[in-house]
Symmetry: C2
Subunit: 433 residues, 2 copies
Amino acid sequence: MPIFLNALAPDFEAAFQNLLNAKREDSPDVDAVVAEIIADVRSRGDAAVIDLTTKFDRITLTPDSLRITAEEIADAMDEVSSEDKAALELAATRIRAYHARQLPEDAEWTDDAGATLGWRWTPVSAAGLYVPGGLASYPSSVLMNAIPAKVAGVERLAMVVPTPDGILNPLVLMAAHIAGVDEIYRIGGAQAVAALAYGTDTIAPVDKITGPGNAFVAAAKRRVFGKVGIDMIAGPSEILVIADGDNDPDWIALDLLSQAEHDESAQSILITTDAAFGQAVTQAVEKRLETLERRAIAGPSWRDFGAIITVPDLDAAAALSNRIAPEHLELCVADPDGLSAKITHAGAIFLGQWTPEAIGDYIGGPNHVLPTARSARFSSGLSVLDFMKRTTLARMTPDALRAIGPAAERLATSESLEAHGLSVTARLDRLNR
Amino acid sequence: MPIFLNALAPDFEAAFQNLLNAKREDSPDVDAVVAEIIADVRSRGDAAVIDLTTKFDRITLTPDSLRITAEEIADAMDEVSSEDKAALELAATRIRAYHARQLPEDAEWTDDAGATLGWRWTPVSAAGLYVPGGLASYPSSVLMNAIPAKVAGVERLAMVVPTPDGILNPLVLMAAHIAGVDEIYRIGGAQAVAALAYGTDTIAPVDKITGPGNAFVAAAKRRVFGKVGIDMIAGPSEILVIADGDNDPDWIALDLLSQAEHDESAQSILITTDAAFGQAVTQAVEKRLETLERRAIAGPSWRDFGAIITVPDLDAAAALSNRIAPEHLELCVADPDGLSAKITHAGAIFLGQWTPEAIGDYIGGPNHVLPTARSARFSSGLSVLDFMKRTTLARMTPDALRAIGPAAERLATSESLEAHGLSVTARLDRLNR
């Protein structure tokens, strides 16, 4: 059974704290194994990648067959139905349009002292995209990672995807093609992350690696961080729905289950001002769980980590939501914009009852790679900015140096950094101050 | 002796590769010790912090004396000269003005399908700033970390600074006061990072931790990453100067030494189109090293890691610079803006010979916390954005759901995520499509 909490109950605070602190995931400690794999790839390159791929994916490769060929991609895409292709293309178009608006602007201005200041944004040159194999190999995630990189202007986007027993996923290859991925390698695990970070004879190194993966991939990304940039380390998915009593319980039940079906460690929470509505949603969830294809996953997630919290009003709902800092937040209330204005920490907000979270997973436009495990307190979903970096600019004139140089000399002296000060002094001396 | 390279020499590529890959820093492996310290602070809170501070800083504290009082801060600030105070205030004003321009804009629009999309930026609620003790305790770094946080709108900014033997640094406290730091604790090391990340009875936890530190601090930041956000892990400082022959060798020598004096592992590189000028700079460096206060640091840095590279033209200089991806880049050439346009990877660019890098360390306005060790390929200097996060927004109408919902159903089916699809289907059924 999910837990039922009432914000007005005397023991609520302790119970809510338990909910916040509950550990939903036990990541196996694979760090030592991953360290060995990375060292092996660094020293033996392609040979190590090939040996590890034989071991884990049961396929025998050569350096020449690491990369999936254009012909293989074309053949696989022939298997995709025209309806699926059209859906992927519509999604790509909408995701591209949303992310194009994120392109940041350069700036340059001259201030009162005569100093010209500013910044300039440039794309990362080469990015690597990790795509899991098997059940968690989602074409939608390929779009969500690859399109922001391409909108940012990344010239070379290399994708890795394991193909256990050699089986290619046509939809994943179609999504990569639509998104403009430049190279695709049939490798996975820590060895693929190491190959992207350090390069091999066949695979040129990249500057940034994004994309989800299992514990081995996550550990490898942590280890190569610094050598390359990485995106966040994603935890199990979460949804928080804030709903008043004026909703269809079945709709809300399905929204809760759409996260629960991802993973037994996923978490679905409903906060409602209407206790009876909360009960109705629970019943609707149980009814849907009788027939849902992934009930063996969604059921345990809901029963172990689901929660229904009754609050006296929507202000109380917003306050609790901000403490949860949810990955996905649905506001199924009469005035979703008004409630949204009170939300300070959330990865993505879905406004109103006509906006199920699944729209955001596929087709809305915003990114579905979002901060989990309360990290929306300090981080954002994937965006074009993750594939760009900013160079700051400064230009002094002799007059500007006269105006502000003496303060720099003073501060350098106070920090005992003599050469810092002298580099200003030498120039000011030339100007005779 | 620094190394001398000529880009036209037959063995140049190999020598340049060596320069790029040279390991300048041997970080001691303190991870096991740090893990113990963090576990101790998590289980014993204030008591652990107090014990560790007694051990490392030789002072005896109680929970009540962890925080530096307003009176202590006021007394310390009385020791600061009016000239130093004025210099810090000018620096703060200029840094604030620069960073205020970084405040990002919210967006909202309605697209052809009738979907309202957008995003909203919000500040991190609480941030922690680590300030080293001893020699590396720079008031300028307090300004550079604290001001972007306050410009972002961070409500609570807690600073930690170790005070070995109980000695307070008046300039650091003055800088914190000017920048608007809200709380200051006299603790340091991994125990301070753990206290900020997990909280104790006395110190409330924060959401993000920034600021430089030694190997223990860096290891602690890596370990608490995920529980809180962190900034980059900074390596030794670097400068690259691109100069033509029309410069004063002494100015350029001082610019190179202003990084070399930071740290024996710092690196200073000159790329010049004029071999004779390169020689003149070397001589000027040696002359300055005879008298420089920090010659015991700057000398080894220059001799072990310094480099002078002669190139045939400025295009070649830009190409090498982009492979180095320097933290600081000075363009001391006739047309610095023209050369700047060819730079794709650099933390900060200083344009023209009147802009010594030291201006950027103190008073220019841009941040001096910048990506080191070639990480400018994929990351940026500290900014207001590091203390904010973006929530994406989406709102469907019935018509919008009719337009794009079917594609979401299709993609959910292709990914075998039935509840995702049903959450759309249930709503479309109500509309009778």
